[in-house]
């Protein structure tokens, strides 16, 4: 196992108790609670729930050491349907609550489930601070580009011009790109996946769970009631290949089907563009490096995306090791306790209460 400064293990699950080798293998059923799932028929959340339930056994963790914390919104009902520990909290605050939990409990695998409104609008502040602090938690941001639970208002990721209940003439807000935002906050793990691409989703989730630090996974999720088909061009088999840029660290960034592959090359001024494979010639090919210390290249990739979804990168944008906030906080406390010869006893507390300046009355 590689380590970073402070001797901290790189994996996010290092301190979380795993099942013994001879334990019965967990199944999807073990992670399915007895609660009736109450999303609308056809909601993308079902697909994500099934993927998470079937993926969790792969981690081999003790179920009681997994906690899902959510905010408010359709996606935030998620914890009720998983037979782990879970808290359905209040709008936007899940990253803050998870910060307190993760910092005080290194033995837990802490997950945040949130949506585009929850994470990027009312809870924007908590999200960016959880990311910049690099608290060991995995944040699943379900992006459906709409407020669903409040019945169809535009969200901070809705395309400009979206006609919704609260924007009858079209929204005038410029949308956030969640991946760009996370990279701007210097998140150490940032990825994007499609709800419908189960294999890609599961592989991204595994990498995110095993990342030590804050991991943000944006999941494109369809809302069939208020914003149906938002990601249809990415799901459509005839268009998919031409639009989805599958990021593979160490490989050139390409898009397009086998017979019409385009390669990302650098152009003057530091920008980049896709050119047909045959025309690459001597031009500098952009090779994706998720482990690059500087987030600029990952940020540039995130900007390939546009509301028109001409080119949408999927996969892991950034995956770097940086000491986590919770490890550093615990190291300070543990260091102080060790330096003082172990946990404080009554005599130590007596000394603290007395302070340095006492007098005695006989």
């Amino acid at each position: 196992m590689t380590t970073v400064e402070l001797g901290m293990p790189v994996t996010g699950l290092q301190h979380v108790p795993h099942l013994p080798d001879d334990a019965a293998k967990q199944t999807k059923k073990d992670f399915t609670s007895d609660q009736e799932v109450r999303w609308c028929p056809g909601c993308g959340d079902y697909v994500i729930l099934a993927a998470v339930q079937s993926f969790l056994p792969e981690l081999g963790l003790r179920r009681e050491n997994i906690v899902f914390v959510s905010g408010i919104g359709c996606s935030s009902r998620f914890p009720y349907y998983l037979d782990t520990y879970g808290m359905h909290s209040i709008h936007g605050r899940a990253p803050a609550i998870a910060t307190g939990l993760a910092t005080s409990r290194p033995d837990l695998s802490v997950w945040v489930v949130t949506g585009d409104g929850d994470a990027l609008s009312i809870g924007g502040n908590h999200l960016i601070h959880a990311l910049r602090r690099n608290v060991n938690m995995t944040i699943l941001l379900f992006n459906n580009q709409i407020y669903g639970l409040t019945k169809g208002q535009y969200s901070p990721t809705s395309r400009t011009g979206s006609v919704t209940k609260s924007s009858p003439l079209g929204s005038v807000d410029a949308p956030f790109n969640p991946v760009s935002l996370a990279l701007g906050a210097e998140a150490t793990f940032v990825a994007r996946a499609m709800e419908s691409d189960r294999d890609e989703l599961k592989s991204v989730l595994k990498a995110a769970a095993e990342h030590r630090g804050a991991a943000l996974v944006e999941i494109y999720q369809n809302c069939p009631i208020f914003n149906d088909g938002a990601f249809e061009v990415l799901k459509d088999r005839t268009q998919q290949a031409a639009r989805i840029v599958r990021l593979r660290s160490g490989e050139p960034v390409t898009v397009g089907p086998e017979d019409d592959r385009r390669v990302l090359v650098r152009v003057a001024g530091g920008a980049s563009e896709f050119v047909p494979e045959a025309e690459v010639g001597a031009r500098e090919v952009v090779v994706h490096d998720a482990a690059a210390e500087d987030p600029s290249a990952a940020f540039a990739l995130s900007r390939l995306d546009s509301p028109e979804m001409t080119h949408v990168p999927m996969g892991i944008f950034r995956q770097v090791a940086r000491p986590t906030y919770d490890d550093l906080v615990r190291a300070q406390v543990e260091g102080a306790v060790d330096a003082a010869g172990g946990p404080a006893g009554d005599a130590d507390l007596d000394e603290l209460l007395r302070g340095r300046d006492t007098w005695t009355v006989e």
């Binding site: 609660q35 050491n65 879970g86 808290m87 005080s104 601070h129 130590d348 603290l352």
Partner: protein, 621 residues
């Protein structure tokens, strides 16, 4: 010179006043420490502007520190100073109205320049125009004498030398009131140990001040205030914020759970964050959050994980935390929310005191969301109040509001330090196994199955096998905790949560009515304890009967409170708001309590409250 006389006094009130950059708070702190070491009882009141360094020499920039010390028990920082140390004209102008005629004024003449006088609107120098003839004025060229005394320190600039003038003033006052300076010398050695010249300069200024008092004829006499009779024990001087931090740590220690503070800096609560962040050795985790909401979210997350989660703030922060307090009410998890009240509304008076958050903490949330409310009454009492708040939070699995205020937070008094082994037991039981059997006979965990006595639900922390469950802010079915929109269930849950809080064990309120003949009761809560106790003492010394009681618990009220209120012909409730407790008492007990209120950002004076009591006594004659 030994020809000087020494007089004995029973009590003295000193106010140090100067520019906010003059080091008045430090001077006051050191004089307090010297006084505590002599065994006097004491009480202090720092008063400073919200601006860190307001323009020099202006009225808004005046910072002061008042200390009341005596050979008997002291209840307040004193109404009026016997001695005012005025470091500049602004300090004189801002404070003179509080200084009774006949009192002593020590003024730094060097700062009484034409320019400085004009800055605060003095047409003539009050030290020379006879306007201060009714006071004993000691004009002392504090700055120039200090600079002169520091002449040998060639490495120091004039500005650095001038800065030591507060030590000169401290030395002079220490001589006047026969305070030992050894503690201050040790303090300076610690503070300036790394800069020997600065250290030596400060020590020299301190001694020069002492010698000035001893040698100049202007000061004819020095004073002695004998030690106060105090119960045997080990004492230290504490501010309310320090005592509160210690109380939280002690409670967590007794409960055997880690303490986790989530907090965002805010005046006047930040000192608790500072204090706790330096107590890591005691297993304390402090997280400085991105905002007030995150502060309480972090605390709640830690509580969910089995820690004692605490958040500290002032009124504006409570407003921001309200939604999360409501979530904690619904989740039924332990949480301590500390509100160090300050003047409001909005930003209000950040550095001044007020008691106007009572109704906010009682009712400032959506839905029916009752929470226990505990209030500290003196700086040292913040320790006990903090322990009590943790006891209630962990026993009843509920957020608890702990109220203090700016006056208690920054004020100080001697504290008889308890021994940890004498502190109350705080053992906490975490759920470790299923607590019910389902209809198929299997052992199951019911997260909202309550303890029949306390109505508390189990505290089942993540990591406990077999107790996996989900909680949230949506209404839950009684017992199972599943989501429920059932009308009858909601009605039941609302009443269960209310009954739980109403059933919190709190001791009866004790009435101080020595003669048993009083017809008037003065009832207070929070930091008005000192002024009320002092005022009732004054009234009794004048030969009248008056009863006094003070509330530690604002929710639930003590069980005997209604009976106590009805026992008296008149109940007077002094508050630093416009009558918030009075409103609650009238609503709860249908008793026509008389509200006496003031919102000046300052504590009541003894004289003011004694007048209120006397007037009330006359009414019922």
């Amino acid at each position: 010179m030994t020809s000087k006389t020494v007089q004995t006094l029973d009590r003295v009130v000193i106010r140090f006043a100067g520019d906010s950059g003059d080091g008045m708070q430090l001077t006051g702190d050191r004089f307090t420490s010297e006084t505590a070491a002599l065994g006097n009882d004491l009480s202090t009141l720092p008063n400073f502007p919200a601006e860190i360094r307001a323009p020099q020499g202006t009225l808004p920039g005046v910072s002061s520190f008042q200390l009341h010390f005596a050979d008997h028990d002291v209840l307040t920082p004193g109404d009026a100073p016997d001695v005012l140390v005025a470091m500049n004209p602004a300090a004189l102008k801002a404070n003179l109205a509080d200084v009774p005629r006949g009192a002593t004024i020590v003024a730094n003449t060097d700062e009484f320049t034409k320019r400085n006088l004009a800055k605060v609107g003095y047409d003539a120098n009050p030290l020379e125009d006879g306007s201060l003839d009714s006071w004993h004025v000691h004009p002392v060229a504090l700055t120039s004498i200090t600079v002169e005394a520091l002449a040998p320190f060639e490495g120091l600039s004039r500005k650095e030398k001038e800065r030591a003038k507060n030590m000169f003033a401290l030395g002079l006052l220490s001589w006047m009131y026969t305070r030992p300076t050894t503690g201050t010398e040790a303090f300076l050695e610690k503070k300036f140990g790394g800069r020997p010249e600065i250290l030596e300069a400060n020590l020299t200024a301190l001694r020069a001040g002492w010698n000035y008092g001893e040698t100049t004829e202007d000061f004819a006499s020095s004073y002695v205030v004998k030690a106060a009779p105090m119960a045997p024990g080990t004492y230290r001087n504490v501010t309310g914020n320090t005592a509160l931090a210690l109380g939280l740590v002690a409670a967590a220690h007794r409960a055997g759970r880690p303490l986790v503070l989530g907090s965002y800096p805010i005046t006047p609560a930040s000192d608790i964050l500072h204090a706790l962040s330096s107590m890591k050795r005691h297993g304390v985790t402090t997280i400085q959050a991105e905002d007030e909401i995150a502060g309480i979210g972090i605390a709640l997350g830690a509580s969910y994980g089995g820690s004692i989660g605490v958040t500290t703030t002032s009124g504006p922060g409570i407003a921001l935390k309200s939604e999360t307090i409501g979530l904690a009410v619904s989740l039924e998890l332990p949480l301590v929310v500390v509100d160090i009240q300050r003047g409001g509304p909005s930003t209000g008076l950040p550095t001044k005191t007020e008691q106007a958050d009572l109704l906010q903490v009682m009712y400032g949330r959506n839905g029916e969301s009752p929470v226990p409310v505990v209030a500290a009454q003196t700086p040292a009492d913040c320790f006990d109040a903090a322990m009590d708040a943790v006891r209630i939070a962990t026993t009843y699995r509920t957020p608890v509001i702990l109220l203090s205020d700016g006056y208690l937070a920054n004020g100080s008094e001697p504290w008889s330090v308890p021994s940890v082994s004498d502190l109350p037991e705080m053992a906490v039981d975490l759920a470790v196994e299923p607590n019910a059997v389902d209809d198929k006979g299997a052992a199951v965990f019911r997260p909202y199955l309550r303890d029949p006595e306390t109505l508390a639900r189990p505290w089942a922390v993540p990591g406990t096998p077999g107790l996996e469950h989900r909680i949230g802010g949506i209404e839950k079915a009684d017992v199972t905790g599943d989501i429920s929109y059932d009308p009858d269930n909601h009605d039941r849950m609302v009443r269960l949560r209310a009954a739980k809080v109403a059933g919190v064990t709190v001791p009866d309120v004790e009435v101080d009515d020595p003669s048993g003949d009083a017809k008037v009761l003065v009832l207070g809560w929070g930091s008005t304890y000192g002024p009320i106790a002092s005022a009732t003492r004054t009234v009794r010394n004048a030969g009248h009967h008056v009863a006094r009681a003070h509330l530690r618990h604002l929710n639930p009220f003590p069980a005997n409170l209604g009976e106590v209120l009805r026992r008296y012909e008149r109940v007077v409730v002094p508050e630093m708001n416009t009558g918030q407790l009075a409103l609650l008492l009238r609503a709860e007990y249908l008793v026509d309590v008389r509200s006496y209120t003031s919102v000046r950002g300052l504590p009541f004076t003894t004289v003011e409250l004694a007048d209120v009591v006397s007037t009330t006594l006359e009414e019922i004659l």
